[in-house]
Amino acid sequence: MTARIVVVGASLAGLRAAEELRARGFDGTITVVGDEPHRPYDRPPLSKQVLAGTWGPERIALAVSADGGLDGLALDWRLGERATALDPRAREVMLAGGERLGYDGLVIATGARPRELPGTERLTGAYTLRTLDDCEAIRAALDAGPGRVVVVGAGFIGSEVAATCRTRGHEVTVLEALPVPLGRALGDEMGAALGELHLDHGVEVRLGTGVAGFEAGSGGRVERIRLADGNGLDADLVVVGIGVTPNTGWLEGSGLALDDGVVCDASTWVAPGIVAAGDVARWPSHRFGELMRVEHWDNAITMGEHAARRLLADLAGTAPDPVEAHEPYDPVPWFWSDQYDRKIQLAGRSSGADEVRVVDGDPAERRFVALYRRGDRITGVLAMNRPRLLMTYRGLVERRASWSEALREAGAA
């Protein structure tokens, strides 16, 4: 009988896993389950080019380098279908439509979904942004003409949406509940520096400002936001970007370990015949000494590929579990965010730093590099419009360089 691998999740991690399975010679059935109706597409442009209207949705279809492109992978699609349960003993995935998909190997790549703000469920004109459908709804609202856009959350998605809306000529206010945007992630100084970028472009940023509720007009359309400080704010369009929750609901009761994601070992292995990758996966990083879950584009690719190789080793019985003997997945995470005319890049880990030091440029000039130290190591690097240096320092994080070596590299020792 032909072997079957089921990939649950039809976005970047799932697709790259499927691609790697084929590249490594797996010639059985690969069934890909995705709850969106679309074939895999690239999400980063959703908050930028597609939202701006400069790219149509056809521009973001994910390409495959194999001969014949996506069709060349001969995938067995289940699009517009949601996985609802997993029975790891029977090796079956249950779909909402009633189908039971038996598998020899399973890749869990169900990603994450935006957190909702209470009170927005039945509101028209209030959105989160994760999917192409979300993006097209927001873009259609922006197309209706200049209006007052309120972005809730000054994280990276919220900031990109604010920048795109502002560039399109809308009046934009960003609300952030914390006193410093991205303070926990980047530290107060760097978080503040990123927040100030909005001010350069005439976007109002209100820090330490929580949302108490919404007031709707006719048809349930949002008209006004009530703020926790008692004030109000008129809004024609609200976009909420307050983080995401990993999609593990369908794994409840499966017996798999769930803890802010599905828990893998250091090699992306979850259980016999099961691996996980992308936003939904949490794994112990030896490099950083912590359980990590990374919501970056780059991680979806590299973890998807790694998980595919790990799964094939599992199916071949060449990597006995527990799998510490298997090659660990231990990358230096990297991502970028484009806002206005600036490119922000972060490599490694910036949270929990003992020190943050600007080693090049000046945040006030919106062109700089900052290094993050934990103990006597460089663990992270943040750059604005400094891509070359970012990659140089990323290399130092990659080979676990000491802090003093990093400072020597910067000429700052």
Partner: protein, 66 residues
């Protein structure tokens, strides 16, 4: 049979992942622009160039076999 590296500079955003993968071929300079150092690299660099193609967030790099 050789190959040619083609960069779509309308797509390139200077993320510099290509430079990281294949510094012999790609260089992002201090002006933040990407420069292709060798448009027809030797076969010995093909794996690195393939990696650069895969790592580009904008899918701005392609390889033309010739």
């Amino acid at each position: 049979m050789g190959y040619r590296v083609v960069v779509d500079f309308d797509l390139c955003e200077s993320n510099a992942r290509c430079m990281e993968a294949a510094p012999e071929v790609f260089e992002v300079r201090d002006d933040d622009f990407l420069y292709v150092l060798d448009e027809t690299p030797p076969d010995s660099l093909r794996a690195k160039v393939d990696e650069a193609v895969r790592r580009c967030p904008k899918a701005a790099i392609s390889i033309v076999d010739e």
